[in-house]
């Protein structure tokens, strides 16, 4: 129960962080392209995170993690760049009211891939599907009728 609460608390903080980002970035993207803005944001984020790693003592084991896990995290970083690049490109070509709702279907892809690759490690139930579809429908309503 406590473990589940912790997970929810972490997810809520993550959602808040991701949700706050466009509000802050919007004010900083007046003079430059989103790609440049994203790069500046990542550079600052990485710098601050590096300081956190140094202070918290995590740096002692830096680059001593299993090589396979490090590769997965590196690929996830490159993957995130590709996602953002396509997202910016789509926004450049069309309106957010089309791009954001279509891109928001990504949890369905995660669920599908989880069933294939993480079958023994993940819990799937009807609540997950219903909740995911409600969130996607909600995003469609917010962005199309805003």
């Amino acid at each position: 129960m406590l473990k589940d609460f912790n997970g929810l608390y972490f997810a809520a903080l993550s959602t808040l962080g991701f949700g706050l980002t466009p509000i802050l970035a919007k004010k900083g993207l007046k003079e430059i392209t989103p790609l440049w803005g994203g790069t500046v944001s990542i550079a600052v984020g990485l710098g601050v995170f590096a300081m956190y790693i140094l202070i918290s003592g995590h740096s002692k084991k830096l680059f001593r993690d299993p090589i396979r896990s490090t590769i997965f995290f590196f690929v996830a970083g490159i993957n995130n760049t590709l996602a953002l690049a396509l997202f910016y490109k789509a926004l450049q070509m069309s309106l957010a009211l089309i791009v954001v709702p279509v891109a928001s279907i990504y949890p369905l892809i995660t669920i599908l891939l989880s069933i294939i690759f993480l079958k023994d490690q993940e819990q799937f139930n009807i609540r997950l599907m219903v909740g995911t579809l409600m969130i996607i429908t909600g995003i469609f309503l917010v962005y199309i009728f805003r």
Partner: protein, 147 residues
């Protein structure tokens, strides 16, 4: 459907595909002994390096970071801390505890959070249908998060 819309949909679906793959990669990395905090750091390193590469290869505009004023730098820095320190760090922790699928679904509520914050902080107006959408997003996140 016109060609322009087709290309937009292609890019948007591509975005969904790459974002959809990410929690799986993170979960796999954590499962084989990766650390959440250092994992976030490795991801950010690869993210920054690949963004630089993209800039070198594809950005031909003359609107570079050197044109930024102090105020823009502060806003972008705060966005970077919010997205890459707060959000990604807890994203890893959440995937470790709750799993990739549940985390991806709950974190997908973030456009709803953005709209609520835009109303509260920027004074933007939204109509009743959009409020219904926000209600659905919050209830959906609650349903997934409930044990």
């Amino acid at each position: 459907m016109d060609n322009h819309l087709n290309i937009t949909l292609f890019f948007s679906l591509g975005t969904a595909l790459f974002f959809g793959i990410n929690p799986i990669l993170i979960k796999k990395g954590l499962k084989i002994g990766g650390d959440q905090t250092r994992g976030t750091f490795y991801l950010l390193c690869a993210h920054l390096l690949s963004m630089f590469l993209l800039l070198i290869l594809f950005d031909s505009s003359d609107q570079g970071a050197w044109q930024l004023g102090n105020e823009e730098i502060i806003w972008l820095s705060m966005a970077g801390i919010s997205n890459f320190v707060l959000a990604f760090n807890y994203y890893f922790k959440s995937i470790a505890v709750m799993g990739a699928a549940r985390t991806a679904s709950i974190v997908n509520a973030n456009p709803g959070v953005s709209v609520i914050l835009a109303v509260l902080l920027l004074g933007e107006n939204i109509n009743s249908t959009a409020w219904l959408g926000i209600f659905l997003i919050l209830v959906g996140a609650y349903i997934i998060g409930r044990r």
